[in-house]
Structures are given as C-alpha cells and as structure tokens.
Amino acid sequence: MHYYWEGPYGVLLWQDATYDLATGLGLSWDEFVGTGADDGFVQKWIARIWWLYLACTLLTITVRKTSWVQMSGLVLGSGLLTLLSYASYVAAQRQLPMFIEHGGQMLIPLILVMALALGVRHRVTVTTAVIALIMTFAGHGCYAIGFWPTPGNFYAMTTLILGADYSTAQMLLRTAGVLDFLVCIGICIPYLRRASALYASVWGFLTAVARPVAGMSWGLNYWGADQFLHETALRAPHFAIPLFLFFLWRKPGEKKVSPRSAEGDR
C-alpha cells in the first residue's frame, strides 16, 4: 500500500514542532520541505517508508523460533504500525476509537513474536491476542453504536452491499455495535470465548472484505482492485486474530497450559 499509495504520515510531519526538530538536526527549510521545484526531506522519506514494511514482510516470512534478529525487527514493525495508527488517529481529529480500533494491526507482529518466543498457548500471547481483539471490536463498536459519529462509509458499505435504506442501515449498524461490545465481554468468559472468537472471525472477515465488495466494479481500471484490495489485507488481523483464538481454544475443557509447559511447545 505504501509503495503504491502515500501513507497518511503527512499529518504528523507537517507541523511546526517537526520542523523545529528538523532544524535542530541541521536541516534548512528548503531541505525539509523542498524548494517547490523538488521534493524535500518529508516527501522523499514518506515515499520510502514502504521499504521498511517490505522488510517486515520478509521478516514475517523468515522468522523462526530462534530468529532473534527477525523478532526484534518485527517488534520495531509493530512500532511502525503503531505510528501509522497514530497518524490515522490524528487525521481523524484525534477520535480515540480511531486509535483503539487499530489494536489488531498494531499488535499482530508482537503476537507472532510472542507465539514463537513464548509459545502459542502462553498466557502472555493469548492475553495480547485477546487485547488486540478487544481493541479492534471496541473501537469499531464505538463508531457503529454511535458513541462517536458513525463514519459515513459504514453507512455507505451497508447500503451498497445490502441495499438497505438509511434507517435500516442505521439499525443494522447499531446492532453490530452492540454485538461488538458483547464480543469484547464474551471473549473474556471461558464459556463464551470460543463462540465469541468464531463470531469475531466471521464478522471481522465480512467487514474486511466489505470495502472491495462495495467499491470494486467491472468498469474500473483493474476492476478497482488497486483502490480497494489492500483495505482487506490491512484488516486481515480483524479476522486472523480471532481465528487464531478460535483454533487455540478448539478443544473446550482442555487442561489449561501453564507457561512452563508452553515453553515446551517451542
């Protein structure tokens, strides 16, 4: 996505404080922002960020239980995604749910590292995955239920995909918002957690694919795939994390695995 489209980092970088920092590092105004005829530091480096994400992708593929270098890189990758989420939060006029709902994206590299380093059943790994799920669904729930203004594209996707009118779409979104919060609660209750994870997987998948389903069209260049498909990839943690938990808990009643025994998994 960052190779093809520009990331939303400008909102963080085009600030007086950032320029002050750059000045402190010896950059002139023209070097920082460009002369107008060419790009400055900011534009050049925003355009290069995709290299870091490509590197993290390679680390994700190559990381193994003892690959501490890759693991360290992925922890930094988690920081990158946190920065990206923070930029989205600032761009959304600092609406708290905007940051919270990115919990899945921010934490998924860490979950991978923890799963490898500590074991998939280690309580830290599982707890982090649960936190990521709760952040994602609580953030979405805040918007869907209307605690913060429901984004227009929530209505847009509901209307386009289901053909619902405004009042029906609103009712569906409010219902989905309530269910989002129920999932956040249910995932913490042993008796309900597996059902909650299953629902979260299905709902997370549906909402992740909703953008291309609503937006792609035969009449567009590449059917609109370059505009919408990455939106699903970006939201893969919304269903991947609950799916991980669902399979992790696939044997109800299984003896709780202690951290020490989880180490044995490694």
Binding site: G152, Y155, R211, G215, G219
Partner: protein, 616 residues
C-alpha cells in the same frame, strides 16, 4: 536464562507500545493548540431562531429560518410577518423540518420595488427581524461580497472574530453575499457548525440576498465528485459520490440552499439528493448558480494512476490526454442545457455572472505546505478537460464572469480553450480562515505578461494542459507565522458590477483591514477591472461592422451561418455595438429589445461596413 531475558524484553516492548503512545498523545494534547469545541449551545426560548437567509427572484420571496433544536412540546410552526403601515402582518406560515431545524417560507407575488422589514416568529417569545431589500435595479453598481473556506480552528486563525468581515460588508453595503463553499468544515455535525456560521454571519445575512453553495466539507467529506448521487466508499472519496448518507446531504442542502430560487430542473439524483442549480436575477445581474460538483465523475479507477493519490498527478511527464477519459463528466447535461438557455435569456439582465464552488482550471501548484508540488489535482475543475471546455464554451456564450472559491488561494485567471484568453475570466476568493495552504508557482515564467508583473502571471498551461492566463495570485508566506490569518492569505473578495459601464472590478482584501481606509492595501495584483465583453474576446478574432440601433441596449445574438451555432448572446451597452467574430466566416446577427427575435444582418463578416438597425 536467555529465554527469560528475551521474554522480559518482549514484554517490555509490548508495555511500551501500549503505554507510551497514548501517553505521548496526551502530552501532545497538552502542547498542541486548543481545538474549537463545536456544540449546540443552550439558548433562551426567545432566541431559538438563529438566523434567516433569503432571495427574491421573479417576484417570489424565499426565506429559510434556521432554528436551534426545539424542545418536546414546543410548537413546530413558524410564521413570517411583514411590517405594513407600522403593523406586522403574517404573510406565510410553515412547519419546521426537524432533521436540521429549518423553516422554509415561500411568498409569491412579492413586490420587489420596495424594501420591507420582516420578522420570523416562533411561539410568543421568539422573534427574528431583518430587511428584505428592494431589487436594486436603479443602482449602477451591484456589489457582491465573496467568501469561502470558513475554518473555525485556532491553528488557522479560525477562532478570530469575523467582526471585520461584518463591518466591511456593511461599509460597502453589499447587495449580495456569496459564500462559495466550506462554510462548515465539521464532517459529522453540520447543524452545530451551521448554527455557529449563523451566529457569526447572521447580522449581515439577514438583510440582503445570500447564496451559500455547499461544497465538499459542508457535506462531510474531504473532496467531492458527486457523480449524480452515487455512494462513495473510498477513503478520500475519489471513487465519486457522497460519503455521508443521502439523508445527511439532504439536510445540508436544505439548510444552505432551500431559500434559493426554484431549481430550473428539479429532478433528484441518487439517494434522493436534490439539485439547486438555477439563476438569481437581482439588480439587473443574472447570476447562474452552478453546483459544479454534483454530476462530476470521480477519477479513482477511471484514470491511470499518476501519483500517490487517485486524484493527484505528480508525474510531470504524464500525457494530459490520458486522463481525459471517455465518460468523465464535469457539468451534467442538465446543467449544460440550463446554461445554454440561460446564456440566451437577457430579460431584465445587463450582465451575467456564474457562481460556483471552484474555478475551471488547476489553479495551484504547491499543495498542503511549502512542498507537495502537484502537477495536477483532479479535485479542481481543470479535469476532465473536455468537460471543462464544455463548461467554458457554455459560459462564454453569455460573456459570463465567473466568481468562485474553494482553492484557499485567491487568483484571477483568464481562461482559454483553443487559444489563450478566448474564454471567460474567473476570480477565486481567499478563505475566511485558511485550512489548507496552496501556492500558484509555475516553474516557467508566463508568456505575454503585463509589464513589471510577477513571473507567475501570464500565459501558462495548467497541469492538464488547459490554457490559462494568470493575472494575480495571493500566495501565502512559505512559513506562515505571526499574523495567522494574513500570512496564510486569508481574506475575502468584493466584485463590483457596473451595469452602465459594463465594467467588472475585482477586489481582494486581507482580514482585519478597513476597506474604506485609503491606506488599506489589497493583495498584490488587485484590484483589477475588466469589461464584461472581455469574457469572450479571443485574440484571433476580428471585428464586424459597427451596428447602430434606435433603441437603448438591445439584445444582440451572433449566429454562424454555416453551422447555425449561436456564438454568443448579449445585451449591449448603449445604442452602438461592434461585434467581435472569427475571421473568414459569415454570420447572422439577430437583435431585439429583450430577446434576439429579428434578423438584422444576414451576411456579416469581419471588416464589414457599419449599419444602422431599427428595432422600433
């Protein structure tokens, strides 16, 4: 042992991620400038009418009162009263429309030859008074104050009082107020922001016809390609359509445009969204109210990717023709049909002005900050080029002057289609408080510049290879600081339309000046005065023989004899007129007192003899 260390390290990283980012955010929260708090205030029940907007056209008064939310149990009925011989007489009564709390009135057979005091009444306590002006047909000069971009955020100077604007509008006694768009920047709370707009500007709006065109931010999105009411899902909305539900857009348009003259072609578009394109005839000026976003196609997925956003072109080597794709629309056919008939209708009109959200070219090179050179921006009306040329061809047939905003950068352009300067002039006004900076800064000096004018003026090609000639640009400072309004080139425009001399004077004022103070300075490049007839006077044309009429200021129309195409229609000034026309062609000239009903010359050619024409 190692394992434990790594475990601790991993946990520390997790804790840092979860704790430090919000903590830093809170720290920044304390450091950053405070944000505007946008809420609907509690008001006394006697103050429940916030403001009122009106127009009078063709002897019909339309007035929309904007109320604060009413409480349960309160009447939902509002009355409109006119003062007659010292008594208040109710002339209309209407129900409040609850999504948006508007009360639209319509009074037909309105006598526009006299001014009238009015008041809007709700219950027994709430009254809101203003003046319906008489139609200023006896004035030589009609003054139109123009505004755009009403940020309320402190970072843009949006928290600074608008009193300077109120005072200056009163000092020039503007006949019409024109807000070209982005009256509201909040994407979710239009009502709260609109009520604030009313509190800020209501004192001048209540006493004169006012036109507010809702633009992208007003309807809750960063950019708008309305695409006939399609639903947009793409971030940035370059896929075309509306991001907010149709019901939200309808509420916005009801608040901002329900007092406009009736739409000339009122069929709804997608999602039940209405249209408001129409004309307002006031003071012998015929204003075409365009809504240039409503039918415009979104570029995402339709044009080859040329930059970091679907609507931005950053590749200077790209082929401009490659983005002028089949099927891309700027003005809809319904709007073009309206312009075609509007251009030929000169009843009660001496001059024509087109009002729209933005100008018909890419009017800026640097976007966002003192960087971000964009070769072209498809949010501008420079794209699609074919649609842009169609719009300009329709407007120049009426010698229409174009008054717009949106760009956050005040400019004067003379537009060209087949050659430089063969179409209309446009004036883009500066923002009230400038949310987003732009600069007009071409890399090459303009051709055919006026003596001692800046290099950025003159003949250029914009990023879509459209021909444009710049005469002025109020570029902001590269590092805005200090005076947060004027270093960001905030301000407003005044256009003076003289129906006798047919001159059009454009003024561009910074904020917090007294426009009547002789020492007050406008932005460099202003004021500029042009003739109405400069709006269609291609350099390559010649002159037909002079026509002398026996009636004052008749309507003249030039028709290509071979193609029957109407080149233009205009009400001339006085009894003589020298029509401009292409060389090597033959023309019919039609004329009449109020409509070109009579063929007065059958074979006019450039360089032809002078003729006398009787229309009595």
């Amino acid at each position: 042992m190692n394992r434990q260390r790594y475990t601790r390290a991993g946990l520390c990283c997790l804790a840092l991620l979860l704790a430090v980012t919000p903590a830093l955010a809170q720290q920044n929260n304390q450091r950053r400038p405070r944000r505007a708090v946008l809420e609907i205030p509690e008001v006394e029940r006697s103050e429940v009418i916030c403001f009122a907007l009106y127009t009078v056209h063709d002897n019909t008064l339309k007035l929309t009162a904007q109320l604060y939310p009413l409480q349960s149990g309160e009447s939902r009925t509002v009355g409109l009263e006119i003062e007659t011989d010292g008594n208040w007489v109710e002339v209309a009564r209407t129900n409040v429309i609850e999504p948006g709390w508007t009360a639209p009135f319509r009074v037909e057979n309105w006598d526009d030859t006299r001014a009238a005091n009015y008041r809007v009444v709700h219950g027994t306590a709430a009254k809101y008074e203003g003046v319906i002006r008489k139609n200023p047909v006896d004035k030589d000069e009609i003054v139109v104050a123009g505004f755009t971009g009403n940020s309320i955020q402190p970072a843009h100077g949006g928290d600074i009082s608008r009193q300077d604007l109120i005072d200056n509008v009163r000092k020039v006694d503007a006949d019409v107020l024109f807000f070209s768009g982005d009256q509201v920047y909040d994407h979710n709370k239009h009502l709260a922001a609109w009520l604030k707009f009313g509190r800020d500007f209501g004192d001048i709006i209540k006493d004169r016809p006012t036109l507010c065109l809702p633009d992208d931010h007003d309807v809750g999105q960063p950019n708008l390609w309305g695409e006939s009411g399609k639903i947009s899902t793409l971030s940035g909305n370059a896929d075309g359509g509306y991001r907010q539900p149709g019901i939200y857009v309808q509420e916005v348009e009801r608040a901002q445009t329900s007092h406009f003259p009736d739409p000339v072609d009122p069929g709804k578009i997608g999602q039940g969204i209405g249209v408001y394109f129409t004309n307002l005839n006031w003071g012998n000026i015929d204003f075409a109210i365009l809504e240039d976003r409503k039918f415009k196609t979104g570029p995402a997925g339709r044009v080859p990717k040329q930059g970091p956003r679907p609507d931005h072109i950053r590749n200077p080597e790209y082929d401009p023709a490659s983005v002028d794709v089949d099927g891309a629309v700027l003005l809809g056919q319904r709007q073009l049909d309206f312009l075609d008939s509007w251009a030929q209708d000169w009843r009660d009109a001496s001059m024509k002005v087109a009002l729209s959200q933005t100008i018909f070219c890419g009017g800026a090179h640097i976007h966002g900050s003192a960087n971000g050179r964009l070769h072209a921006d498809m949010d501008s009306n420079g794209w699609p080029q074919t649609g842009r040329n169609r719009a300009l061809k329709a407007l120049r047939k009426a010698f229409a002057f174009h008054y717009a905003g949106d760009q956050h950068l005040a400019t004067i352009f003379h537009h060209g289609i087949d050659e430089h300067r063969d179409a209309i002039w446009s004036f883009c006004v500066p923002s009230i408080a400038n949310l987003y900076l732009r600069w007009w800064e071409p890399l090459e000096p303009g051709q055919n510049r006026e003596p001692s004018s800046p290099e950025y003026t003159g003949d250029h090609l914009d990023g879509f290879a459209n021909k444009v000639t710049n005469y002025a640009a109020a570029n902001p400072e590269k590092m805005p600081a200090g005076n947060v309004l004027n270093t960001r080139s905030a301000g407003f425009g005044i256009v003076r339309l003289n129906t006798q001399t047919r001159q059009i004077t454009m003024e561009c004022w910074p904020r917090n000046v007294d426009v009547t103070d002789p020492s007050a300075k406008q932005y460099p490049g202003w004021p500029r005065t042009i003739s109405q007839f400069d709006n269609y006077n291609p350099p390559s044309w010649g002159k037909l023989g002079e026509l002398t009429f026996d009636v004052d200021s008749p309507v003249v129309q030039l028709v290509d004899r071979d193609s029957d195409e109407i080149l233009y229609t205009v009400r001339i000034a006085g009894k003589t007129f020298v029509p401009a026309a292409p060389k090597d062609k033959t023309f019919l000239i039609k004329a009449g007192k109020d409509a070109p009903e009579t063929i007065v010359v059958k074979d006019a050619k450039v360089g032809g003899a002078a003729q006398s024409v009787s229309l009595k």
